[in-house]
Amino acid sequence: MGGPTLEQAPATTRTESYYVARRRAYRLFLYILMLAGCAIMLLPFFWMVTTSFKTELEAMRMPPQWIPGTWLWQNYPDALARAPFGRYFFNSFFVSILSTIGEVFTTILAAYAFAKMRFFGKGFLFALLLGTMMIPGEMLLIPNYVTLVRLNWFDHYQGLIIPWLASVFGIFLLRQFFRSLPDELWDSARIDGCRRFRYLWTVVVPLSKPAILTVALLKFLGSWNAYQWVLLMTNSQSMRTIPVGLTMFSSDIGTEYQLLMAASVVAILPILILFFFTQKQFIQGVARTGIK
């Protein structure tokens, strides 16, 4: 064999500085990539905020004018004067908070039962529950409307809250999380004389905080953004929520973008604040339950 031996191979001397430079280049590439992703994600928000200060002509300009010629603060009072937004805010908070608390409560109970308890037909019931997710919401809209009108819940908070106190998706999400908790916890709790209900609230729930917060946050967002159901179930201004108010700036012939964006900025503020305070738990919850 005439090939070079290991000893004879040319020495490739890669110094420490080479690896440091390579790591830095890789990190730089990653940061550029993340910054680009960040810019893409933030661009609509940037457009929303700057458009909320534009004149009507500037808001309609195509390609978009990114920075307003003059910053028109008046858009905010003008937009908020178009509808009773104060009341809409109260309703959005009231409905979202109560729906969230209610859903989290029912979801924890159901998810625990499906994850950790043994009962006849559990698998079948769970499949049945998941099956309901396949029914398009639009199909249920009119039957639900008729039911609630007959219950005399039309144009009342009950109609906006009670039908949304249970969520199959939430049950599924929490069940997956609860299943990952070791059964030994329950065994030792039982030995100490703990009963199921107490075990659930003192052991399982604290251990599942990230997942529960995810369920709560998703619910809050969904409830905050709910539009069609609120519009369907209410007639009075005093019962309506923020998303209904936002539609008032659009028609089939055009949209008053500058006013819509001003109202939208105000509308998303509470959600942004909520997210800033809970983002750690939210991301943990999403990562642990594998929900994207």
Binding site: M62, A83, Y145, V146, T247, S251, D252, I253
Partner: protein, 407 residues
């Protein structure tokens, strides 16, 4: 003498009693889909009405866009909680015509005769004027005045101009500005206009046969097909694409947005009546009507009050006020002759072709399945304009699907 006094007293009692009954307070809901820009004007009309009929309270209830209003009306039909009066498109109420309270039966002949001819048929069920027009607009031709000196008056001129105005301005091999533009998915009425102008219609007069694909339909489809290379196709507002086409057909109600978009783009926008086809230059009426419902949840007094409101809104001064403030068109003949409207037209020259077009117009048919037919036209017209299918094949497909809806 005593007997006479008794009769007078009795008559006074009857008159007093009737007056008391007539003035019994009544509250009605008016469901609408007018965005917040229009709401103060609608509220003003309602306030004027209430000032004239102080015993009636009208609650304006905003129900989102037209889609959500339709959903709500549909749901309320099932649940039995319809309002006394609502804005409706023809195809929403044709399937539920039996629960409409015929407004025309409570109008004078003079009032009925005053409604624009093009609007009567689309509000008449079984020979009775049942609903009445409210916020109506008309499709007209918008054009870029810096590119189009004289707007086209015939299909042939329209075609030639669309072809000449389709250009690749920077020489990169891509067209930068088209001669015309269409929103087929959102506005299949653009195709129905060509069909009407060719002398055609979707169905025959007694709705027993599909006529969409007859000679007139084929002429319309072929004309549309000839425009494909010179047409910008979008599903968005035309005002968002004002620079992409030199001329386009759009609703008169969009004038405000279109003019602002043109100003932004640096040109002046012109408005003209539509170019004429082989049969006529008719355009299609857009917008909603007012329906009063006749359901058990409503009292006779509520239905009467709703009829009064509908009649009030038809008065010349009110339909003119609404038109001036909203950009919709007046709906009665007398309105077009009022001093107020003539003054308005003299200072808004685009209203001249719009008014002319309003008098040369047609409306949608009142077939109960028109909503589904419109969906077929929407998809079919989109497929033709995006060259998914050849125009005549697309026409045949639409005709076959509409045929199935007749069965």
């Amino acid at each position: 003498m005593l007997r006479r006094m008794m009769w007078v007293g009795l008559a006074a009692l009857v008159v007093f009693g009737m007056a008391t009954i007539a003035q019994e307070p009544v509250t009605i809901e008016f469901w609408h889909a007018m965005s917040s820009g229009h709401q103060p004007n609608l509220q003003k009309l309602v306030d004027d009405f209430v000032a004239e009929y102080p015993y009636i309270t009208v609650t304006l209830v905003y129900q989102g866009g037209y889609g959500t209003l339709q959903g709500k009306v549909d749901a309320a039909v099932v649940a039995g909680n319809l309002p006394a009066i609502a804005q409706v498109y023809e195809n929403w109420v044709t399937p539920i015509e039996s629960i409409l309270y015929p407004i025309g039966n409570f109008m004078t002949d003079e009032e009925k005769a005053d409604i624009l001819d093009g609007l009567v048929a689309s509000n008449t069920y079984n020979g009775v004027l049942t609903t009445v027009p409210f916020n109506k607009s008309i499709m007209v031709l918008y054009y870029n005045k810096s590119l189009v000196a004289t707007p086209p008056t015939t299909w042939a001129e329209f075609y030639e101009m669309a072809k000449a105005l389709t250009v690749d301005l920077d020489g990169d091999g891509k067209i930068d500005r088209y001669g015309t533009a269409f929103r087929p998915a959102a506005n299949p009425e653009q195709f129905l206009i060509f069909l009407e102008q060719a002398g055609g219609s979707i169905l025959n007069a007694d709705w027993t046969e599909v006529t969409l694909n007859n000679d007139a339909g084929q002429a319309a489809a072929q004309f549309v097909g000839s425009l494909i290379p010179y047409s910008y196709v979008t599903s968005e507002y035309m005002s968002d694409h004002i620079k992409d086409a030199a001329m386009f057909v759009d609703t008169s109600a969009g004038i405000g947005y279109n003019v602002k978009a043109a100003t932004n783009a640096g040109f002046e926008l012109g408005v003209a009546t539509l170019p004429a086809g082989p049969a006529n230059y008719n355009s299609m009426i857009q917008g909603t009507n007012l329906a009063v419902f006749d359901t058990p949840n409503l009292t006779q007094a509520q239905k009467d009050a709703a009829v009064l409101l509908a009649r009030f809104l038809l008065r010349a001064e009110n339909t003119v006020f609404w038109a001036e403030k909203s950009g919709y068109q007046p709906v009665t003949k007398s309105a077009y002759n009022t001093e107020e409207w003539l003054d308005y037209v003299s200072s808004h020259d685009y209203q001249v072709p719009m008014s002319e077009q309003m008098l040369n117009a047609f409306a949608q048919i009142l077939h109960p399945n028109y909503g589904d037919m419109r969906n077929v036209l929407s998809t079919g017209f989109e497929e033709i304009m995006r060259s998914v299918v050849p125009p005549l094949e697309g026409l045949e497909n639409m005709a076959a699907e509409i045929e199935a809806l007749l069965e």
